[in-house]
């Protein structure tokens, strides 16, 4: 079990995320029996790897450190890195930083990727198994299978899914990318798309774009089978980290069993006050041409574009 490829990947992942040594001591710790609860995927035509021993990926988001990048005066860097790394079509924030209210009146910022729910409503309702769990617990979409019914979007209680309404406007280099459900680039018209935990990076033992890019080191990628998590600067023992920091999952009561844990906070570790008035900076899609908000007019011979408004996060 230790000698197979997976072991290598794991070691690589850990090496890259920390560079090393003390880790080996922790490696032997018993894994949280989370994997046993994992729902069997409906059908998994693709998988992160061919190995039998699977990971149980998860993300821990330490909001004590997250100030929404307001302190730096830049757009949320996780969102921006994800957009740049995946050539995400205009308007899509696969990881979006939401502003939430604190009980005492202030605000905090909540980065929100796809939660890769274990009991994923989106996977349950897909009529053609285009969206599925791979054996590492990640919810993937096969864009060559998706029929574009958007039932999964209706079912996701976190609105973490996006649709390619038209042919997305992308930079030319996007066309060079080799599509796979692990790295769905370039985006395909008429299909649903979302965060997939950068499964192609995890496979190669690297950290996702958003985790690597976060200047505050808020995001931790974890593996329940190893009981470790890393934000690229430190490695923590996952179970202890969750237990000692009041970890919670968003809308736990829904029973979706997200794989993303939050540690409550409002960026205090970087000196952000709850009442800090600085707003989130808007992210940019350098290749955007505004087509997301545009519809063509009635007459084919006239460029009579109609612009509409859609709810955008404040």
């Amino acid at each position: 079990m230790e000698g197979d490829n997976k072991g290598l990947n794991r070691r690589e992942f850990l090496k890259k995320s920390l560079g090393a040594a003390g880790l080996l001591a922790i490696l032997g710790t018993p894994a949280v029996p989370l994997l046993s609860q994992r729902k069997a995927s409906a059908s998994a035509p693709h998988s992160a790897s061919g190995n039998k021993k699977a990971h149980a990926w998860c993300m821990v988001i330490d909001m004590k450190k997250c100030d929404g990048c307001t302190g730096l005066g830049v757009p949320p860097q996780c969102t921006q890195a994800c957009i740049m790394g995946h050539y995400a079509p205009e308007g899509m924030k696969w990881i979006e930083v939401y502003e939430q209210k604190l009980p005492g009146g202030g605000r905090f910022f909540q980065p929100t990727p796809c939660y890769q729910c274990e009991n994923a409503p989106c996977v349950n309702v897909c009529p053609v198994a285009a969206t599925y769990h791979n054996e590492d617990g990640i919810v993937l979409i096969d864009h060559h299978r998706c029929i574009g019914c958007r039932f999964c979007m209706a079912a996701c209680p976190y609105q973490r899914r996006f649709f390619n309404w038209g042919t997305p406007k992308l930079p030319p280099e996007a066309a060079l990318a080799e599509y796979s459900p692990l790295y769905p680039v370039p985006a395909i018209k008429g299909t649903v798309i979302k965060c997939m935990f950068c499964a192609h990076f995890l496979r190669d033992g690297k950290l996702p774009y958003c985790v690597a890019a976060c200047p505050r080191k808020v995001l931790y990628m974890g593996d329940f089978n190893e009981d470790l998590a890393s934000n690229g600067a430190e490695v923590v023992k996952l179970s202890k980290f969750l237990d000692e920091n009041n970890a919670y999952r968003y809308k736990e009561a829904l029973g979706t069993q997200p794989r993303v844990w939050y540690l409550p906070g409002h960026g205090q570790e970087f000196g952000r006050e709850a009442e800090d008035p600085r707003e989130l900076k808007p992210t940019v899609w350098p290749w955007a041409d505004g087509s997301y908000e545009r519809r063509r007019g009635v007459w084919p011979w006239k460029e009579s574009d109609i612009w509409t408004w859609e709810a955008r996060p404040k």
Partner: protein
């Protein structure tokens, strides 16, 4: 004396019912052309949508379903007109049903065909629709829909066809000389060698009886699973256990209203006054009132139970629905499809038929709106901390919707030129049974509670 009277009645019946099959007015051609133009416009809109993708619609990531799904629920709802109602009336031996059933069954078939198209138009990748068969998963409520709608369509086609056989045979015999060769061949083929022998009759009655019984659970399942597409999600307003029966009752409600409208139209243009009498409208009006009251009850229960607890997202939805952006639509639904029709049916003043038809038209308009306020506002409610979603249908969606309604009417109009819209043999049989006074079918149908009444 009696025998001769029955014969006279039968001849008149045949003449009236067949006349639209043999004579076509200019107005009819003009009407069909108009409908075709609207359908063509809808097709143009669809081609545009295929070209530029669903970005042509008003749907976006927050409100990701729109008019197409509204139409889907509406048409599938209307389809319950038919078979379910005529099957129930047949099973309960309500004699007055005979002139109504054919139209009701036809509504079912046509509405199903048009309605089932809607989710296909809504697909981002329509060319992959066969994946539903190749890779279909039965865990998905969408697959339940597909299975139950196709079985309902098949069942309804059979159920429409079986009672048609004797009439087709009649057309083969009577219209043989006057109609074109193609039509003649068609009738001969479809009549399946019907000779009206007692044995054939017996078998047909049996087959129809079996179909009538099977179609009822299928019809109920159809609208139940249509509702499951919504109620299997964790959305405010949709996440409800009552949705199955709520949708079924709503479907029967709008279904009856549709029959009334169709009856009134054909009664006027095809001079069927003798067979579709005031009594039929009154009886159907009572059925409509019954379903209206049940629907009112369910609506009340649905909103009271969530309104009492005011769970956050439900609260947003109720505000949106009753006070906010969708309030106009919601209250319009309440007024047009519940309050006014109730008054129109209960206050029996003025001529029955216009009263019932007005009620029926209002109900269908209101029920379309109701489907809109079921589908859209639930999607507008933000599940994450941001603003309400917005949705304004675009010209593409409106054009396709108009095309769908035109197609519905068009198929109806064409069918009316090919097949008799009234089941001649059943009406004649009913007439024979009640032969004492042959003057009018109306006089023969006994007054009484239609559903409990037995022969």
């Amino acid at each position: 004396m009696k025998a001769r009277a029955v014969e006279g009645f039968n001849q008149r019946l045949e003449r009236t019912v067949f006349s639209p099959l043999t004579h076509t007015t200019k107005g009819y051609y003009a009407f069909v052309l108009l409908l075709m133009a609207i359908v063509a416009w809808g097709l143009y809109a669809y081609v545009t949508q295929l070209r530029y993708g669903l970005s042509m619609t008003g749907m976006r990531n927050v409100v990701m379903w729109g008019l197409y799904l509204v139409n889907f629920v509406f048409f599938i709802g209307i389809s319950h007109a038919g078979t379910l109602i005529s099957a129930i009336l047949r099973v309960t031996h309500a004699g007055w049903r005979t002139p109504v059933t054919r139209m009701a069954e036809l509504i079912t078939v046509v509405a199903l065909m048009v309605g089932a198209l809607m989710p296909l138009i809504d697909l981002g990748h329509p060319e992959r629709v066969w994946y539903l068969i190749a890779y279909g998963r039965f865990q998905s409520p969408l697959m339940w829909d597909i299975v139950s709608i196709t079985s309902y369509l098949t069942g309804s086609l059979i159920y429409l066809y079986l009672p048609l056989i004797p009439d087709i045979a009649l057309m083969r015999d009577r219209l043989g000389r006057t109609s074109s060769a193609i039509k003649r061949k068609l009738y001969t083929f479809l009549a399946l060698g019907w000779r009206n022998t007692p044995e054939q009759r017996h078998r047909l009655e049996k087959a129809i009886g079996i179909m009538a019984l099977t179609i009822i659970p299928i019809a109920i399942s159809v609208h139940t699973v249509v509702s499951f597409v919504f109620s299997m999600t964790l959305r405010p307003g949709w996440d409800s256990t009552v949705f199955g029966i709520y949708f079924v009752i709503g479907a029967i409600f709008s279904g009856i209203a549709s029959i009334l409208i169709v009856m009134a139209i054909f009664r006027k243009f095809y001079h069927l006054e003798e067979y579709l009498t005031e009594k039929h409208f009154r009886y159907l009006g009572y059925l409509m009132l019954t379903t209206l009251l049940i629907y009112l009850y369910l609506t009340f229960g649905e909103y009271l139970t969530v309104g009492y607890k005011l769970e956050v997202e439900e609260k947003h939805l109720l505000e949106l629905l009753m006070l906010g952006g969708n309030a106009a639509w919601f209250w319009l639904f309440v007024v047009t499809s519940l309050i006014i029709p109730f008054l129109l049916i209960v206050i029996r003043r003025g001529p029955t038929i216009p009263r019932m038809v007005t009620a029926a038209v209002l109900i269908n308009v209101g029920m379309w709106i109701k489907r809109f306020v079921i589908v859209i506002p639930s999607l507008q409610v933000p599940l994450m901390p941001f603003d309400f979603g917005a949705y304004t249908p675009t010209w593409v969606e409106w054009s396709i919707t108009a095309g769908a309604f035109a197609a519905f009417i068009l198929i109806f109009a064409l069918f009316a030129k090919l097949m008799p819209l009234i089941s001649i043999w059943e009406v004649a049989e009913e007439a024979e049974k009640r032969a004492p006074s042959v003057a009018e079918v109306a006089e023969r149908t006994e007054v009484g509670l239609p559903l409990i009444k037995r022969r």
